[in-house]
């Protein structure tokens, strides 16, 4: 297949989403582990999570905004369809994002212990619910349910605005997203932890979440007759075998590395695994942006817009990547106390 300009921009949007999942997703996962903090080191676990998220979560969040902005610039009709058909879950996602972000900030700057616990609870619950709803939205897209809703076609509210996403498959994807985010967060936190005990806590959590990723993936595949196009792509297309083998290798490597406490390897393997899954979804849908009938080419904005958007992305990336590298270097670089983190 040859890549058109529109394909390239769709790919860039998927890159932005990948950035959001790998970085922003892990921040949500951190919130999940805040909610599930337990045992004698509960307070220290929460403290570690807050320190890991604090400096970076806002920058990590911007990946989502970038994806949205590029989507409405380059594929406006797809954006309009999504806004109509997935109004309900996306509105809930937004409320989750608002509550998560503000509660985290209020907790950091609130001052009083009681208030801190209260904001911490809101932050944690929002971190649990939002990924599920994001996954539900992705699941609805993958299942081909986002069509031309409500255009005077006389559909009832439930059929037009609820049925597309209130499906077992969409919720399986939601669970899968949550498991992936929690898995990534736990793996990253093994490297953020400054002492062995905390490291062990998050190692066990990472292994648990990794198993949940498998369970949710199996559930999604079992229900994939509800997403015929993506299901076919993931099961039957020629590249599917390669993709599955690679994803499986990454997953096994992640487990092996966690088991043998090679945390840097685990981080790379876990991130690779999640990236392969995301890109597998993208490939399975190709050339459709919104299955079953809206292709990337059909949804694309005029050529001049795509060219300018690509130019903006290139210029933006020149500013962005050195800055991002600097940010991560300042806050994620090895500290004096072992065990340490990778750059």
């Amino acid at each position: 297949m040859s890549l058109s300009l529109a394909d390239t921009l769709a790919g860039i949007i998927l890159v932005a989403l990948t950035g959001y999942v790998l970085l922003g997703g892990a921040d949500f996962g951190g919130g999940v582990w805040d909610l599930l903090a337990s045992g004698p080191r509960r307070a220290r676990q929460r403290d570690l999570i807050a320190r890991a998220i604090g400096p970076v979560w806002e920058a990590n969040h911007v990946w989502l905004i970038l994806a949205v902005v590029l989507l409405f610039t380059c594929f406006p009709s797809a954006f309009a369809r999504l806004g109509i058909a997935l109004h309900v879950p996306l509105t809930l996602v937004l409320i989750g994002i608002v509550l998560r972000g503000s509660a985290f900030t209020f907790r950091s700057y609130g001052g009083e212990r009681e208030a801190e616990a209260y904001w911490g609870r809101i932050f944690a619950v929002a971190s649990l619910v939002t990924p599920v709803l994001l996954g539900v939205a992705v699941g609805a897209v993958a299942s081909g349910a986002v069509r031309e809703q409500g255009a005077g076609s006389g559909e009832r509210f439930y059929e037009a605005y609820v049925a597309p996403w209130l499906t077992p498959f969409a919720f399986a994807v939601g669970l899968f997203a949550l498991a992936c985010f929690a898995f990534l967060a736990a793996v990253y936190l093994t490297l953020e932890a400054r002492d062995r005990e905390l490291q062990e806590d998050f190692r066990l959590r990472a292994i648990g979440a990794g198993i949940l990723v498998f369970v949710a993936a199996a559930l999604g595949l079992a229900l994939s007759q509800q997403a015929p196009l993506v299901g076919r792509g993931l099961l039957a297309s020629p590249w599917a075998v390669v993709l599955h083998v690679l994803t499986g290798c990454a997953a096994l490597t992640a487990f092996w590395a966690l088991w043998t406490r090679r945390y840097r390897v685990a981080r790379v393997a876990a991130a690779t695994q999640v990236v392969l899954i995301l890109w597998g979804w993208g490939l399975a849908q190709y050339p459709y942006l919104l299955p079953p009938n809206l292709t990337i080419a059909a949804a694309a904005a005029p050529r001049v817009t795509l060219e300018l958007a690509l130019g903006a992305v290139v210029v933006g990336a020149i500013v962005l990547f050195p800055s991002l590298y600097y940010l991560l270097r300042v806050f994620k670089r090895p500290s004096s106390a072992p065990p340490t983190t990778l750059g």
């Binding site: 970038l66 954006f79 806004g83 109509i84 109004h87 900030t105 209020f106 700057y109 509210f157 005029p302």
Partner: protein, 422 residues
């Protein structure tokens, strides 16, 4: 409540909420950088305390601004899918650039807030400068997109559809410069006077507090020049509106009939002859278009637009006068912080810039109705077909009211209270 009204109200609430955070997010980093620079030069610990407090304030406000801005970017599609479908390819450009500016801001704010001990003092200050610059840039990009809705350019209409689109020409639309200038100055004036006013009030109670004196001085340094320049920017904007958006001007001035030598209505019953013509076209005999130039169904809500505009002008004038007073006292080399009448005037100014900003946005947004893209697309044709929009409207209103109260309380605790109380 109709679905259209619910959608418009939700958008209005979201924007009115976000704009306060956006405005402070643009100007607060300037205050914090000035304080840090003064600390580096004088080693006066009060400046460090101020820089840290304003950084904490920026952190709280930026976080809420970031998430409420995310809400807006989604709401464009959730509430106005038909608008985004046609406008996305044309005005996506400034939004994309805004995305990157915002990214830069978030990255360097992270470094500024958490990097006091991790980067060199020079790098730290520079990170603050980048936060201020990228904050202003992202504001300007968003205003450019809004300006396009007022004066759409960069396309030809073929059978009601856009053709031959030119996103660069759209970015350079006629309203872009006057609106961006007016809004950026508003951010500095509102925030500068907001900060100065609070500390002026504290100085009235604690007369000798060096902390509040320093804070007042920096607040005025940012707010006063912007407030003095704002009437000039306002004049540029008004003359632009008179030429390019005559219906909006007519609504702002409640001018129902087209006439030469149009008078300026100050309050009901008091008019200055020919003054509107003079202000709008710099010619007392100029013809100013009235609302009668367009059919009744294309009128905005005239009383509301007129009132909002009046409120903005009145408060902006007040800020400019207080700023001139400050300049006068400074020129006489008087100590501003012991002039009780002046301090009262500044204290009264605390909310004025924010109210003026909100009122100005009400004037320009309501004044554009019934159009979402003037002359091209009506707001009613842009709204989502999904029914029941009163539910998300109510949800976001409640959410934002709660957040507003909490943020206000936190800011009081974190910034305003004199050192020693925390």
């Amino acid at each position: 409540m109709s679905d259209l009204l619910a959608a418009r109200s939700q958008m209005a609430v979201s924007l009115a909420f976000h704009i306060v955070f956006a405005v402070i997010g643009i100007a607060m980093p300037v205050l914090m950088v000035i304080a840090e620079r003064r600390w580096q030069r004088t080693r006066d610990p009060i400046y460090l305390e101020l820089a840290k407090r304003w950084a904490r304030g920026t952190a709280i406000l930026f976080a809420v601004g970031a998430v409420s801005g995310t809400v807006l970017s989604f709401e464009l599609g959730l509430l106005w899918p038909r608008f985004m479908e046609v406008a996305g390819p044309i005005i996506g450009m400034p939004f994309s650039l805004e995305g990157f500016a915002f990214f830069t801001e978030a990255i360097f704010l992270g470094i500024y807030l958490y990097g006091w001990e991790k980067v060199s003092p020079r790098a730290h200050l520079f990170a603050g400068v980048l936060v201020a610059v990228s904050g202003a840039a992202s504001g300007i990009f968003v205003v450019i997109a809004n300006a396009w809705m007022n004066t759409p350019t960069g396309f030809t209409l073929v059978d009601g559809r856009f053709a031959e689109i030119d996103p660069i020409a759209a970015m350079l639309n006629p309203a872009a410069f006057p609106q961006a200038l007016h809004m950026t100055l508003a951010a500095y004036a509102a925030t500068g006077f907001g900060v100065a006013g609070i500390h002026a009030f504290m100085l009235l109670k604690e007369r000798t507090s060096a902390f509040h004196r320093h804070a007042l001085a920096i607040g005025l340094l940012v707010g006063a020049p912007a407030a003095v320049l704002q009437p000039l920017a306002g004049d540029i904007a008004a003359r632009h509106v008179a030429r390019h958006q005559p219906v909006k001007l007519a609504a702002m001035e409640a001018l129902y009939e087209t006439r030469a030598g149009a008078p300026l209505k100050i309050v009901p019953g008091i008019e200055i002859p020919s003054a509107l013509s003079l202000l709008a076209f710099h010619d007392p005999r100029a013809v100013v278009k009235g609302l009668d130039a367009v059919p009744r169904e294309e009128w905005p809500n005239v009383p509301l637009v007129h009132l909002s505009f009046r409120v903005m002008v009145a408060l902006g004038t007040y800020l400019a006068l207080v700023a001139l007073w400050a300049g006068w006292l400074a020129w006489l080399k008087r100590d501003l912080t012991v002039q009780r009448r002046f301090l009262w005037a500044v204290a009264v100014a605390t909310p004025c810039g924010f109210i003026a900003t909100e009122a100005g946005w009400m004037a320009t947004e309501l004044g554009r109705q019934p159009w979402v893209i003037v002359g091209v697309l009506k707001t009613a044709d842009a709204v989502t077909p999904m029914p029941g929009l009163i539910v998300p409207f109510a949800a976001f209103t409640l959410l934002y009211c709660a957040l507003g109260v909490i943020v206000g309380w936190l800011l009081y605790r974190q910034i305003v209270r004199s050192p020693g109380h925390t």
